[in-house]
Amino acid sequence: MAARKTTARSKASAEELLSYYRDMLLIRRFEEKAGQLYGMGLIGGFCHLYIGQEAVVVGLEATAKEGDKRITTYRDHGHMLACGMDPKGVMAELTGREGGYSKGKGGSMHMFSKEKHFYGGHGIVGANVPLGAGLAFSDMYKGNDNVTFTYFGDGAANQGQVYETYNMAMLWDLPVIFVIENNKYAMGTSVQRATKSPSLWERGAAYGIAGEEVDGMDVLAVKAAGEKAVAHCRAGKGPYILEVMTYRYRGHSMSDPAKYRTRDEVQKMRSERDAIEQVREALIKGKHASEDDLKEIDKEIKAIVNEAAEFSKESPEPALEELWTDIYA
């Protein structure tokens, strides 16, 4: 039983650091644009932004191989971009258009890509956890060494079905990595107001599941922990829990006045712990990239995001016949 907070950081080449920088920046700029389009009324309903948490998915995706699966809850835009889904298709789904991943029928919380092994995008808090274990079950049944990254938040961690799943995942040695993205607030309720458990990952110990706490603002620390978890699962040792300590800068959803935390708390995190800034500094200090190089990357990312936004506005609304399709296969 691992019982520690990992302090290891993965070594990364300049090329890898640059790619993490690029991937995290893409998520941030994409989400900022989504927030903007929401403000313009182009995106409706609920829209949960991933800004601040970018290092979690980027660090873990760096440990995945072809065939590995991922599934998450409703704060899912970052996960989709990190596993290589097309920003145009994601943004067009947010605007409810034909060019969206679900042809406009799923929206922000319900998107999928069979090609990229992204199994959603689920709107019911905690429900994706047994689904993730089921995906892992399918790989074990088929006899391959794929793993499933099952992401959920500190809020979902209090749902009963999570523990039903822990029990069966360990009982059957399922190759599933439970990634608790602890951003400290379940909507407006802080972790301390929801549980007296000192840590969430340690709850796995009741089922014999190994795990650890990870600094989720440090992409290399996330990657190091991810490598360990993946190796554990691929070796047939069963599930692994990563409690990744992270922070969301924006509200729970677009309509969150965020009165449950102070502006200073958010600012402090942003100015002192920001994951993208940390990589940026490492790149500059290590002389892996110049300010101009990074500006060039910023420009490229902005262009990708603008292209996605344009596509999401130009793509037509779904044909009215679409109301009646995809109900049965």
Partner: protein, 459 residues
């Protein structure tokens, strides 16, 4: 480059708001993420952040202004060192949203909206060739054989649930499967319906074909979110990318003397859900043929069995492989005086009543729906157009029952053919009591069917 800052929508329903307070003044430098203003919506006061960096060029809407419409320009941002242009630049504005369901929208209408001018022609082809050798088999054995045959056919089919393996099934439906297929494919779960239903759905997303047994459908209430929100809706929510080929099966409805929490029929609950298919067999031959169809179906199927029927024997065709299609009712008995529609154990009362009515000279047509969704409404309509009278029989509660739905279909599509009001017979509108005499009163009975038949035939 100067850009307009527009009044943002800060909630799914916001149309206008109050610009409560500016937190920057003209000439201030602004970084991405800085709060520009506080905006009051009908629900809360929200902070409005800058998206891009720049300088606050000009404030167009003063603090304290109420009723500012979403997308109204409220300020102009300029780049460092740039002057505010005289002509306000055009910011990107949202196109007017298309009105939902207006204009040419109504193309595909629900299946039952159009009036049927002529009698529909239901599929009455035999389920297996005439002259097929038959043998007697219980519903229990038929269900077991259906699973075994499908598991032999395809490796991705497996069965999981409480006591399905070593115990050989709480009701012995999975008897012998562990011996033949091993623990990889016949999986005992802990008592944890919510969790294993979700694992089953995930396994189906992952390309397997799970058969999830609930010891009874009463326990599936713990798992109903996974059945409906995860299994039934994902194909639609994924724009057709990701289906869920899974069978949830187990006994449903009242058994005997097990009282309220263990005696409920869920047919109308699941039949309510687009994306699910719902089968509820009566005979052993249908149990086998329908279960094989369910396992091969690419959609989530709710397969409702009945504990009292498990031990009952019926004639089953002796064939290596046969299936019964969904959406095809079976006419057990032809008649001209009234139509009795039922399904599952309800057929017992329907057919017993029909025999007794024949003694009184009333010939009832007995239709077994076999699947509630899809429902063979053609068979019902064709029969009602012949007999002009209809009774429905089921064990579920009366309000929002399957019979209620059938009645609405008949009202819409065959109103002029009805010679009497339709009668929906159902379980009584009470939780199932334990006491033997009260339990008997709560259930639908053959006597009630006979009485209703006299009522609709006025004789």
């Amino acid at each position: 480059m100067a850009t307009e800052v527009l009044m943002p929508a800060l909630s799914p329903t916001m149309e206008e708001g109050t610009l409560a307070k500016w937190l920057v003044k003209e000439g201030d430098s602004v970084a991405s993420g800085d709060i520009l203003a506080e905006i009051e919506t009908d629900k809360a006061t929200m902070e409005f952040e800058a998206v891009d960096e720049g300088v606050m060029g000009k404030i167009l809407v003063e603090a304290g202004t109420e009723g500012v419409k979403v997308n109204t320009p409220i300020a102009i941002m300029v780049a460092e060192g740039e002057d505010v242009p005289d002509e306000a630049p055009k910011a990107e504005t949202a196109p007017a949203p298309a009105a939902l369901g207006s204009e040419e929208g109504k193309t595909a209408a629900p299946a039952n909206a159009a009036p049927a001018p002529a009698a529909p022609k239901p599929d009455t082809t035999p389920d297996w060739p005439e002259g097929t050798e038959m043998r007697s088999q219980t519903v229990r054995e038929a269900l077991r054989d259906a699973m075994a045959e499908e598991m032999r056919r395809a490796d991705e089919v497996f069965v999981m649930g409480e006591e399905v393996a070593e115990y050989q099934g709480a009701y012995k439906i999975t008897q012998g499967l562990l011996d033949e297929f091993g623990a990889r494919r016949v999986i005992d779960t802990p008592i944890t319906e919510h969790g294993f239903a979700g694992i089953g759905v995930g396994a189906a997303f992952g390309g397997l074909r799970p058969i999830v047994e609930f010891m009874t459908f009463n326990f599936a209430m713990q798992a109903i979110d996974q059945i409906i929100n995860s299994a039934a809706k994902t194909l639609y929510m994924s724009g057709g990318q990701m289906g869920c080929p899974i069978v949830f099966r187990g006994p449903n409805g009242a058994a005997a003397r097990v009282a309220a929490q263990h005696s409920q029929c869920y047919a109308s609950w699941y039949a309510h859900i687009p994306g699910l298919k719902v089968a509820m067999p009566y005979s052993a031959a249908d149990a086998k043929g329908l279960l094989k169809t369910a396992i091969r179906d690419p959609n989530p199927v709710i397969f409702l069995e009945n504990e009292i029927l498990y031990g009952r024997s019926f004639e089953v065709p002796v064939l290596d492989d046969y299936t019964v299609p969904f959406g095809k009712a079976k006419t057990w008995r032809e008649g001209t005086d009234l139509t009795i529609v039922s399904f599952g154990i309800g057929m017992t009362y329907a057919l017993e009543a029909a025999e007794r009515l024949a003694g009184d000279g009333i010939e009832a047509e007995g239709i077994d729906l076999r699947t509630i969704r899809p429902m063979d409404t053609d068979a019902i309509l064709a029969s009602v157009m012949k007999t002009n009278r209809l009774i429905t029989v089921e064990e579920g509660f009366p309000q929002g029952s399957v019979g209620n739905y059938i009645t609405s279909v008949v009202m819409e599509q065959a109103f002029d053919y009805l010679d009497a009001p339709v009668i929906n017979l159902a379980g009584k509108d009470v939780p199932m009591p334990y006491a033997a005499n009260l339990e008997k009163l709560a259930l639908v009975t053959t006597d009630e069917v006979v009485e209703a038949a006299h009522k609709v035939t006025y004789r």
